[in-house]
């Protein structure tokens, strides 16, 4: 079953048409935590790869590659090496560069929109944050890891 209804697919294609630079999506597979009861019959890794592959197929500016056990065998020649803390994982690379954007788990339901939004943001050379926000972030002298726990509905 395709991940999008035809009308939704057209909308996502339209969003991806606005990308001003290429965006690479890296799907990483590795050891998975046991999910909550009732979710065991879902192959989260396979579904994550399917969703990302179908997303990338909607635009020439979005590409996808899959890494199995990253860190064990290394990345393909010339590919950015990404670090992942859990699996399945998705890295969003603006212009092929790893700037620390991750999605851990299967992006489905409402959260598929978060991944699409990440691609759209990564495809913009200029930030959409307000100038005062950029100034505050520019003054940071500590590293900041922001984790946002989400659910698919």
């Amino acid at each position: 079953m395709p991940i999008f209804r035809p009308e939704d697919e057209a909308r996502v294609r339209g969003l991806f048409d606005t990308l001003e630079r290429p965006v690479e999506l890296v799907v990483a597979h590795g050891p998975q935590e046991t999910p909550v009861l009732g979710a065991r019959e879902i192959d989260f890794a396979a579904e994550t790869e399917r969703v990302v592959t179908e997303l990338a197929a909607l635009s020439d500016r979005v590409t996808c590659r899959v890494e199995n056990e990253p860190g064990a065998g290394g990345s393909a020649a010339g590919a950015a090496s990404c670090r992942f803390e859990r699996f399945p994982a998705i890295a969003v690379l603006p212009g092929g560069r790893d700037v620390g954007l991750r999605y851990y788990g299967l992006p489905w339901g409402y959260e598929l929109g978060s991944l699409i939004g990440a691609v759209v943001e990564a495809g913009r050379p200029e930030s959409t944050l307000r100038p005062e926000s950029l100034e505050r972030l520019g003054a940071l002298d500590h590293d900041l890891a922001i984790d946002v726990f989400v659910t698919p509905t």
């Binding site: 046991t34 991750r102 851990y104 992006p107 590293d143 922001i146 946002v148 698919p152």
Partner: protein, 66 residues
């Protein structure tokens, strides 16, 4: 979630990750995730819910400045 991604795109100091809570229940339990979105900064839970840009930065930057 998008504000976190925008912050990561804007600053080399910032990384941003969405974590699907039901697929990582042990981690979600350790972060006392009862409501979503729950925002955790440098491993410390900060707040629940979506906030506008200025308030979001107020909350996520607060730990960095002590």
């Amino acid at each position: 979630m998008l504000l976190a991604y925008r912050a990561a795109l804007a600053s080399p100091r910032v990384t941003a990750a969405a974590i699907e809570a039901s697929e990582f229940p042990a981690l979600a339990d350790s972060m006392d995730v009862w409501a979503v979105p729950r925002v955790v900064v440098n491993g410390v839970p900060q707040f629940d819910g979506a906030l506008p840009e200025q308030a979001f930065l107020d909350r996520v930057l607060a730990p960095a400045y002590g």
